[in-house]
Subunit: 356 residues, 2 copies
């Protein structure tokens, strides 16, 4: 656990310290666009078979690092591990996204929920973190993660994916106490989960609030941000986790960045619908920023990928505190060679930008 990092650009950028160039990793870098990922997944038999087996999870986590000069690894897992461990019966219907056999709809359902056992139902996640950390041998830092309470609740109450997750929203409006009870149980669970990942060896933590952007400003603060801030506070109270920078990412939440910057996190993920110069103004130097190339650019030519990567770097400018990423996960039809083009351009132009 104490091996020195050979590449700490990512952690330095999250602390807003100077770096030789801009660090980059991409969401879903261990994903279906890689033929070696598809091969491992085939051996595993299913997505959950892949995610719940520490050896497979370690294997696919490391695959993109073999191809590209990425500056961070991220635990291969699913955002819905916590509700699955709570007994809701997660499955992935063919091409349909996640589904829960036992959605949470009423007070009795919420009352049954308890913080899962990190040495029990979720031990496979900690085993994967330990194994990946060992196999990384200090090449780059390992990011642990969780879905946000709001986003977990979206799926748990709806029972599946949705365009608007109106079932949870209706609960928030009609039974706000019940919604808060659910979100509080989830915030405790996520905090416990991330503390366990930190203890197992994660070196940074990210909270994916995939559906926070579905909320208006006031409900976002009340039902999403409040619980992410509660988690950050719980992490700060833990001797190991307090050392880890925390990244919050609410997709479609460009209007909420100023609020989010006050949550105690180290960095905010930003999607591509807002200019990073505007995002920097919004957060007023309080946090680092991670983003924000439109993932659809990865389907363009190498020339366009390079040009758009430089535009993102220029929009942040020559300031500390930028981690390059896509504004959302890399998609399955992307040619892996295009990610090499991106990573190399970010590192090369990041040097030029610094005049180094």
């Amino acid at each position: 656990m104490t091996d020195a990092l050979k590449n700490d650009r990512f952690l330095r950028a999250l602390r807003r310290e100077p770096t030789d160039t801009t660090p980059i990793w991409v969401m879903r870098q261990a994903g279906r666009y890689l033929p070696e990922y598809r091969a491992t997944r085939e051996r595993a038999g299913s997505f959950m078979g892949l995610a719940q087996n520490p050896e497979y999870a370690c294997e696919v986590t490391l695959q993109p690092l073999e191809r590209f000069e990425l500056d961070a690894a991220i635990l291969f897992s699913d955002i819905l591990t916590i509700p699955d461990a709570m007994g809701l019966g997660l499955s992935f219907a063919h091409g349909e996204g996640p589904q829960f056999a036992h959605p949470v709809r009423n007070a009795a359902d919420v009352a049954k929920l308890a913080v899962p056992d990190m040495d029990g139902e979720l031990r496979y996640v900690m085993d994967a973190v330990r194994l990946i950390r060992r196999e990384l041998r200090g090449r780059v830092p390992l990011i642990g993660f969780s879905g946000s309470p709001w986003t977990l609740a979206c799926y748990m109450v709806e029972g599946a994916g949705s365009r608007d997750f109106a079932t949870l929203k209706a609960m928030c409006w009609n039974e706000p106490k019940l919604a808060h009870q659910l979100l509080d149980t989830l915030a405790q669970s996520v905090a416990t989960y991330l503390i366990a990942q930190a203890a197992a060896g994660a070196q940074a933590l990210m909270i994916f609030d995939t559906w926070g952007g579905l909320l208006g400003p006031a409900p976002f603060r009340e039902f999403s941000l409040r619980y992410m801030a509660q988690i950050v506070a719980a992490l700060k109270a833990d001797a190991t986790a307090r050392e880890l920078p925390v990244i919050l990412f609410s997709k479609g939440a460009g209007a909420h960045l100023a609020d989010m910057a006050g949550s105690g996190c180290a960095a905010l993920g930003v999607d591509w619908t807002i200019d990073l110069a505007d995002a920097r103004r919004a957060v007023a130097g309080k946090v680092a920023l991670q983003g924000n190339l439109d993932p659809a650019v990865m389907r363009a030519s190498p020339e366009v990928i390079r040009r758009e990567a430089r535009a993102v770097l220029d929009s942040y400018g020559n300031h500390p505190g930028h981690v390059f990423n896509l504004g959302h996960g890399i998609t399955p039809e992307v040619d892996p060679d295009n990610l090499k083009v991106l990573v190399d351009e970010v590192h090369a132009y990041g040097c030029i930008l610094r005049g180094s």
Copy 2:
């Protein structure tokens, strides 16, 4: 055509003139949440059978006005009438959304496209406008509308709905001249279409840029806003259409409101992810605003609907230039009585807000 309007609150608000209370209409007010709409649709046999028959289109356009004190009617039609009239073969697969039999993928496909004949393939739309206008007998103004060039192109190039419409984005990056040729043909078509709707009796015009929010700031200006501004300019050059206020609505485009306010339009639609006070600051008094209650609130109790409606009205404040609407279309599972609660509260509290 020259009958005086009995209720011109909506048009006055779009011109930012004082009104006795805040006008309200809601997107998809003629929709599946109404049992009488479902009955007419059943008689019509299909969605396109409903949209392409002027008598049915008139019938469903008027249905919500019989139940609620709405301040505007909107033509019942589909946003994809133009590409359908261009010969792309629109159909609605069961529960799957729109599909085109002949998507637009290359230069030959784009070269084949021509502005449709407003007295030919699209005559049914103008017939519907004329009939609705006659049947309205001046009760409230009639809104005509079209999809934006960007949004039409999204479906035409993808061939169906999509989460990210990456096929059109790839065309924009890899073959920008071809994308601009397509968007220019669509802008000419939309301008001609809206001018024809104005001539047939529409009293305000709205452009739905449903997917503009998928673009970052620079591509939004280049591929979406530019063509909406081109349409507004063409409308201003037409003796009839120039009198009609134009509303632009790009969903998820909170970051682009300042750019959009300079397009020559009268008003901007705003979704619920941005506070109307912030939106007012962004547009700096240049345009009226239309919005922005979260449509999911319509599933809450009457008390919550009233409270949230007042919050939206308060966020705009006692200034001229607010048209109340949902931030997106009303959804099928909403109890129609809840829309009555909303309409009545907006009118009642709109009076209180004005101290009248």
